[in-house]
Symmetry: C2
Subunit: 275 residues, 2 copies
């Protein structure tokens, strides 16, 4: 395993972590101030700053863009959300992002047909890949925790995501987020499989709090929860991953209310001590 | 599939559904009043009424006991919670229950070691089986939704539960609860596997609400959520299950606040129309 105890360059800040306090411009400056090597912007904030301006600032500061969040949501309309998804690929390409993260979407409105939702997701990724391959942009399917299967993402295990990748071919892989996959008894085997196929495009770190009081916005800073983070990173790195560790926390009652410089300082500490 | 549209005998009331309104004695009377054929008591309420008295009343009314809830929690102490678990087996036997449901327990206090928790669970069930086999009481492992892996149950898919059963041998099977397993892409295959092994001991029905506002107590009446209940029951019955459909709903803000006779009336309606 890599020794991160003095490193900050392999840490990437997913801007969701301080999204209530800072826009993208401030997040870029914050990363620079704290020596954080990478950033993963969300598209809504990217649009506020403007893609051209964001590209310039990120490039000027020498930050890696570990991913762009996010494309996907293939089930929200009858056109697989493809127009917006193609724009997301273009934006990721402009930013020089290492991948575009896909949160694939849940059930269609008014539907209970989960297999059909999954078929549409497969079709959507296949169609988006045509565009992404031309641009040379990698697509990273992010399996979401099963509690989001209905309304956010119906690919819920690493195994399912890799089964999809097997069908889809080159240019598509996975974003592994500890928060979504930690519970899975099959996790380490699937991480090995992902590594052997060269499909680990991103690694996100977030902890599971006990108790968890909200399904979406009560996620934990690494070290505050019960996930054996070192075990997961060990498996991911043993499988060949050598990219950034991206910290992404949704936390309405805690981290989104704090001084964002304090949040970044603690992210760095935890990255060096528990990630 | 069985036609339940005029039936009430194959419906079983899990008493958690009206636990805030009624004790076990009232629940027994309620089942009789509504023609509900089965009941699944919880042990805390059983102890309040007294096992002998409960056995007498349930027997006098001719109710099936589709299961006793619950044994398990093998990770709460260093003795695999075995004394209490053996008492649970004895109580289930006294009631003539069709199985004892096992909610296996989560991480040990202060631990992040999920594989170790799972090893203890396997050891605990193996030891409890020695006692259960003598009594002729079947143990039903209930895979819990992955959002409970840390603090309630670390067996989180039907596949994991069946892998455990394969190791453990005769006398142990599964309780399949739609709320916990509906999201699983591997569900139908594992249901077939469970049926082929003769391991489907109980079938629980509960719906997943969108949005879900609490991880534990915001579960839905069948028909109010997004689970394709007919698809799951079809698979379970195609796999050979012909027992009760047990309705079990934890609902702090809705069903636990209603007139319990109204709750039972609606359970019967939904059992006949959407389960």
């Amino acid at each position: 395993m890599r020794d991160l105890s003095r490193d900050t360059r392999l840490l990437s800040l997913n801007t969701a972590t301080i999204r209530e306090q800072w826009g993208l411009g401030e997040a870029i400056e914050g990363c620079v101030r704290h020596g954080i090597g990478g950033i993963a912007p969300w598209r809504d904030q990217l649009h506020v700053l403007g893609v051209t301006e964001a590209v310039k600032r990120i490039s000027d500061e020498g930050l890696r863009v570990s991913s762009l969040c996010r494309g996907g949501l293939f089930t929200v309309d009858d056109h697989l959300n493809l127009d917006d998804n193609r724009r997301a690929v273009d934006e990721a390409t402009a930013l020089g992002a290492e991948c575009l993260v896909l949160v694939v979407g849940g059930l269609m409105a008014g539907s209970r047909d989960l297999p059909e939702a999954r078929r549409r997701v497969a079709e959507g990724i296949a169609k988006l890949l045509d565009h992404a391959r031309v641009q040379g942009m990698r697509l990273a399917i992010e399996p979401l925790h099963p509690m989001y299967a209905a309304d956010r993402g119906c690919v819920n295990t690493l195994r399912e995501a890799l089964d999809l990748c097997d069908v889809l071919g080159a240019g598509v892989g996975v974003a592994i987020d500890t928060y979504h996959v930690w519970w899975d008894a099959d996790l380490e085997r699937q991480i090995r499989r992902a590594g052997q196929a060269g499909r680990i495009f991103a690694y996100h770190v977030c902890d599971w709090l006990v108790p968890t009081e909200d399904l979406l916005t009560d996620r934990g800073m690494p070290g505050d929860g019960i996930i054996d983070l070192r075990r997961v990173r060990g498996a991911v790195e043993a499988a060949g991953y050598n990219g950034c560790c991206e910290i992404e926390i949704f936390s309405a009652k805690n981290w989104w209310r704090r001084d964002p410089d304090e949040v970044l300082r603690i992210c760095v500490e935890r990255f060096q001590s528990v990630v």
